[in-house]
């Protein structure tokens, strides 16, 4: 009886340490992923349609924004 109680106590203390360890391990993982840019997938699948019907004035209007977009996201463009 005395022995089993001791074993129980030892087991408990190990679990407590493990729990604290888990918390210690979780903190840097959370910190590490906080710096990532999260981009979620769109709901609709991407349709590849090369039949483009676009007016030149629209292109001219969007041109500067698009240039900035490309410059700011070198991995994507």
């Amino acid at each position: 009886m005395k022995r089993s109680l001791l074993t129980l106590m030892r087991c408990d203390s190990t679990q407590g340490t493990m729990r604290r360890m888990n918390i210690l391990l979780a903190v840097p993982v959370v910190l590490g992923s906080a710096g990532c840019v999260q981009v979620s997938a769109p709901e609709k699948p991407i349709e590849i349609n090369l039949n483009i019907n676009i007016r030149q004035e629209v292109v001219v209007r969007l041109q500067q924004d698009v240039r900035d977009l490309i410059k700011e996201n070198p991995g994507v463009f």
Partner: protein, 130 residues
């Protein structure tokens, strides 16, 4: 395990996680340039990357990943400027044809044919590119 050892272990794991993030970020820096340079992937007139032939699954998943991000940026800019997503995407394609497709790399105009860019000459742009 002593408290000190646990702290050292946690710090090491934290540092590892940060280094991993930095490496992944550095790889992302020129993901689409590397894909274009591989010859397996080209720029399309619709503003997305496309597979030139049958590419391995790894390349396909990288292309999908880039295209999903592009779609998100196009959607965002289209909403900001009151334009259609396709209009933003096609305008981007005009710009990418001008500035990002290098000699020997592939592009696809609205006619759907994959062509390889010649060294000296610029890509013949669709008329709407201006």
């Amino acid at each position: 395990m002593s408290r000190r050892m646990k702290l050292i272990l946690a710090a090491g794991i934290g540092l590892g996680a940060m280094l991993g993030t930095t490496t992944a970020y550095a790889m992302l820096q020129d993901a689409s340039a590397q894909l274009r340079a591989s010859g397996q992937v080209g720029e399309q007139a619709d503003g997305y990357l496309g597979l030139v032939g049958s590419a391995p699954a790894g390349v396909r998943s990288q292309v999908d990943s880039v295209n999903i991000k592009r779609r998100a940026y196009y959607t965002d800019l289209a909403a900001k400027r009151g334009a259609k997503i396709e209009e933003v995407a096609a305008t981007t394609a005009c710009e990418l044809f001008r500035t990002k497709v290098g000699a020997g790399q592939y592009y696809r105009l609205p006619d759907g044919v994959w062509r390889q860019r010649d060294g000296g000459t610029p890509i013949p742009l669709p008329s709407y590119c201006g």
